[in-house]
Subunit: 315 residues, 2 copies
């Protein structure tokens, strides 16, 4: 038995602030077409794919508002949805969401090959800070611009064209938190989609990890969690230099053994394709990681009962 | 600032059923001495280090009882404790524990360089089954021979000789469960010790993962969890062929970046040594994995509220 879907990772190079939304959408449609030509029916785009990673800038008012989507699709983004429907390809894409009530989230949606939006996720693990770093050219203001996601970690059942795959979504920093993966796996997730914008080094020139180490971290988090949750994972970067700040690449498709089956070789627009047999999840799920047989939640209470570290009491 | 302790992984080759306890202890003392010669003050031995991995055999009564330790140290194992005190070296060791009340656990202890037992852990994630596989030469009967651990996941503060390191223990299969690592990290664990006996392939000849893939899994679980919990990890195998069943090696010392800093190259008795700077945990713990700032436990409820998979409800 096998349930194979062909999945594409659509890595994007940097989106500059000076790039028009239409030129960015044009590049995304180009990636979509490349993926479709290779037979993919699900294409995964990065986090905040339509714009530059604007949380690195201190903005407000109408300048900030321009980065948000009040409707999805909108008049501007409808092109991407239309082309996907024509090609019979669905996709995951990340964008900055503004609700009718004025709430703002770092959001991703899952769009079926019919064009129907079948899932929405709002990022829970927001990195960065509310207050800007003083005297710094580059910021990380996700906690300022976005509310914490309120969707929990939902799993969506894909259409027959995707072999009824059970699909989970995460966004960027979420992928480093094993709690997020486990909450999805506990709903039978078979395929995880995650887009990201991860700094290659401290853009303010501080002493920090190398781009190579940061890429290693990004791969390790996806490989380790895919293995321990016996699922496929598609992790997709916005890469390269964006408005003067460097982003890692390392987009990859990882199997339920934690093995990388496809990996980006550039920091630019690049499409990776792999056949994902969802039934490969069964080996882990029925043996090593048979949750029913082996999990012992009565000992996991700290995970929900405390937030930060509580040191053991001195004797 | 740095708080460096020199740690050794004391990988062991197979212990055969026909080996005397004294010959096995002699090998362990040899490894201890090698580690001490290289300046290590903490030596990590495997799971069930004093015997063969007896859960692969269907046993009962007095034959089974012989694999258990009613006292630690006992007249037999005191040699190891004595030599360690003489050398000023502490250790982690796994053994089969029988309590005065007759309970049986798969247990590890942490022994300070003074010889004092400063911590005990009883394995929580028991793999295998209660009932034997019919018509199979090799079994995995941990769920039959041991009760589930009742210690939770305690963290122990080491002595000054170990820079007051906060140390956690896991046993074998536990290391593949991110919940276990997180419960330890939430108590400020800086160094994780784990011994294991992991089959290199199905000893009954079934179609299964290769030894290479199983070794990769073992490394990946330790690397991924060390990174995501910003801690050091020392993972130590009983390796090689034991009573006709093959065990993987892959013993390793991993830093808080998830990078392997020392790795076994054999499937035999072998000592690895590395300097572990406990303050390397601070980079992850104060930034990317600052739990206080970034964890969102209100969304992690499934981890404790359910054991197995609950599929999302159909619409």
């Amino acid at each position: 038995m096998s349930r194979v879907i062909r999945v594409a990772a659509a890595q994007m190079g940097g989106n500059q602030s000076t790039d028009s939304r239409q030129s960015i959408l044009g590049r995304m449609i180009g990636l979509l077409e490349k993926a479709a030509q290779q037979g993919a029916t699900l294409v995964v785009f990065p986090e905040l794919a339509f714009t530059t990673f604007f949380p690195r800038m201190l903005l407000d008012g109408s300048v900030l508002a321009e980065y948000f989507e009040a409707h999805i699709p909108s008049d501007t983004t409808e092109r991407l949805f239309k082309r996907a429907r024509e090609l019979g390809v669905g996709f995951y894409v990340g964008y900055a969401e503004q609700t009718p009530e004025g709430q703002r989230f770092n959001t991703s949606i899952l769009v079926a090959p019919t064009g129907e939006i079948i899932g929405k996720y709002r990022k829970i693990h927001l990195p960065g800070s509310v207050e800007p770093r003083p005297n710094s050219r580059f910021q990380q203001l996700e906690k300022r611009y976005f509310e914490y996601g309120d969707t929990g970690f939902p799993v969506f059942q894909g259409p027959q064209a995707w072999e009824d795959a059970r699909i989970g979504m995460l966004i960027c920093n979420d992928r480093r938190w094993p709690e997020a993966w486990r909450c999805l796996a506990l709903q039978g997730m078979e395929l995880l989609c995650v887009g990201y914008n991860s700094a290659a080094y401290d853009p303010n020139g501080g002493n920090s990890e190398s781009p190579e180490l940061r890429t290693f971290h990004a791969l390790l988090a996806v490989q380790g969690n895919a293995y321990m949750n016996a699922c496929w994972a598609v992790a997709v970067a916005k890469a390269g230099v964006e408005d003067g700040a460097a982003l890692i690449g390392g987009s990859c498709i990882v199997d339920p053994n934690g093995v990388i089956v496809a990996q980006a070789s550039t920091l630019e627009d690049e499409v990776l394709v792999a056949d994902c047999d969802l039934d490969m999840c069964l080996q882990g799920r029925t043996k090593m990681f048979n949750f029913d047989l082996h999990r012992r939640p009565q000992w996991y209470r700290r995970i929900v009962d405390q937030i930060g570290i509580e040191l053991p009491k001195a004797e």
